[in-house]
Symmetry: C2
Subunit: 410 residues, 2 copies
């Protein structure tokens, strides 16, 4: 294969995660040690910044190992992010022409894009367009999403850290809730609009001697309010403190989200509708039915940015997949593909990095397999725990100064 | 002073914290090495369990250093807690007679009670009652509360860890919120019904090179909605992403909580009132005024149980004050007092353990001093940072097994 020599550019896109900068660090490490890449540029705010030529050289910034290490532990996209999708091919090709102009101007021959579903759409379209143009650029997608819902890969970088945060936090909440003897239910609402991967993490600690949610509900199964209330009643019969994990994406059989259906009649003094969320809705229902103490907790943003409790496995793999993307592009000539993880075994956990055509991956969501959820639809199975536990193994702590984490800003 | 030899009992009461078990471990350590104490008992669920004789010997459980170490890192009250207050003296003295009977039955000569305001009320009443009875028991209160609002002590065990969690999490949220370029406001609601100590922690990282909330509001200052919206407008003029920290106890000049006043007209389909909370109310107001993206986050229970990110200073001091309580009771004959911290200096931070009459401490709340809040009432001062930073210094991590923390249950 012919060597393609020139510059490279890397961008980040979509929702932040705690590991997306570890992947960025991996791409930078790969580029700095590649014989084919002279300068590694970064684009600010993904393809949006690229089109505005908001581009900076990363070589000078990351001369030292210290900075790269710090970047690996820093949450959220250090280069900034965007939600922009490229136009359909043929519809507005001036955008693509602009991209090619910038490629030429900066002698860019490698384009690395770290992101989720929508970002892989960008990779797919750009790859297709570049196939028609007489300018060679290798375009590689590197996955990231806490949601773990990308096709084609065993799991996604960022998921392990989010899952570790959730498993740990739910264990601590279970502890907190168990100190009183009066009946009380705590509902923890967890991210995941389309799939229950994150909510599943609330239920795995019990498989390794820890404590987890008593009940867990996922978008993969229709939510039935009566069955749910019966589940809660059963648990309250066993002990005074019940902790429930529910996915924000939990849905009734008719497709309505649990979090939207219920409060359709609720308005504030200005007539605005309240969007309560699944946790709040279940809180209300439990209060009405059982009259006991109920609290709902939304884990909210910390799920995707709590880098202080990163999974060592996740951070290590996130760096590795970034680094591997450079190697694949430079040495194998890979383009139009997304890097993926291929699990070889659960025990001992071993995982390889590969790549797949991005066209099959973009714009679709991967749900949890049938056998990861128990028959009652209110918890995970051992198969699920075997899948998740290796991904949250190990602790990768950031450096601290004067009691607060040292994160990189550049 | 005459040696008082017999057994001891320890209990935990009030809301859980991440360090209340470190204090329990300190009491146990002190008792195990004291010449005056034969058996150290624990009461389950505080004074409520004591009255029900739900009492267990701790000597056997904590023979090994391993278990004590594990206990130090375990969040929430391992012995269980309660909210029970003892009756006013003279009103219902049968309760006190019952206590004395149990003291005699178990030959209890030392009574250690770990708790906050209400728990010190228990210590005060019981001490007073025991002064009238011909049975000698030394009764010592050991403070705990994440709220840091107890009088008589420089700070309270548990505050440092909660403050570290808040400083870290807000720093991570600031990161997460800064990745997009579109204007957006994020409101973080923090615990503290009566005082702003916890909310202040959201604003200290910037004094040591970290990132913190752009604006912070405390119960100590009257909340003015118009001034608040002007503050937000000013910040949005400087940068697209604004992070606001607000205490759940923020109040208008007329005494109404920010979180209750606003949504008085809001009802759900069943006619129930929504209790939105300060964060949700500010979210609505910002949305109405600026029409920009707004999100509110309640830090909720993790503030008081996130032992995975404990302050090493806090855990160490929490053990020390527990241990010192046993020494004070056994060797100095202290009774009817609460253990306190006395800060000697900020830099280097040094702190001593003392004790004060519990009668002056119980049932009152300590607010932040005037000079800890800036003139505009929307942030902390350097004096405040100097006070808080030593308390969040150092990281004390729990052990993990298979990716999840190992916490003790007994």
């Amino acid at each position: 294969m012919k060597k393609l020599i020139g510059n490279a550019i890397v961008g980040q896109s979509g929702g932040p995660t705690s590991a997306i900068n570890a992947t960025l660090a991996g791409v930078i490490r790969g580029a700095l040690s590649s014989e084919c890449i002279r300068t590694i540029y970064g684009m600010r705010n993904g393809i949006e910044g690229f089109l505005a030529e908001d581009i900076l050289s990363l070589n000078g910034i990351f001369e030292s190992e210290d900075k790269l290490k710090m970047l690996e532990h820093t949450p959220a996209a250090a280069l900034g992010s965007c939600r922009k999708k490229l136009p359909t091919l043929g519809a507005e090709d001036s955008v693509y022409e602009r991209i090619v102009d910038i490629f030429k101007k900066y002698d860019i021959r490698y384009f690395f894009y770290i992101g989720g579903n929508d970002s892989m759409d960008t990779v797919a379209k750009l790859s297709e367009y570049m196939g028609r143009v007489d300018y060679k650029v290798r375009i590689v997608g590197v996955p990231k999403t806490i949601d773990n819902d990308l096709f084609g890969t065993d799991h996604t970088p960022g998921y392990g850290t989010a899952a570790k945060y959730i498993a740990t936090t739910v264990e601590e909440i279970v502890r907190d809730c168990s100190v009183y003897k009066i009946p009380a239910v705590t509902v923890v609402e967890i991210m995941g609009r389309n799939a229950g991967w994150l909510t599943a993490a609330a239920d795995v600690a019990r498989f390794v001697g820890g404590e987890s949610a008593d009940l867990a509900y996922f978008p993969e199964r229709d939510f039935d309010m009566e069955r749910f209330l019966r589940d809660v009643e059963d648990e309250l019969g066993k002990k005074p403190n019940v902790v429930v994990a529910v996915s924000e994406g939990a849905r009734f059989a008719d497709g309505r989200y649990v979090g939207e259906g219920h409060q359709s009649g609720a308005v504030d003094v200005f007539g605005h509708k309240y969007l309560a969320g699944a946790g709040r809705v279940l809180e209300d229902e439990i209060k009405r039915r059982f009259g006991c103490k109920v609290r709902s907790i939304e884990l909210s943003l910390p799920q995707r940015c709590a880098a202080h409790i990163a999974s060592a496995t996740d951070l290590c793999e996130s760096v590795a997949i970034g680094r591997a993307s450079v190697k694949a592009a430079c040495e194998e000539g890979v383009s139009g593909e997304m890097m993926v993880f291929e699990r070889m075994s659960d025990e001992p956990y071993t995982c390889a990095v590969g790549h797949k055509s991005v066209a099959e991956i973009a714009n679709a969501n991967r749900m949890m397999p049938e056998d990861f959820i128990n028959e009652d639809g209110n918890g995970v199975t051992e198969a699920c725990a075997r899948y998740i536990l290796p991904l949250i193994e190990g602790e990768a702590y950031p450096e601290y100064k004067s009691g607060v984490p040292v994160y990189l800003r550049f």
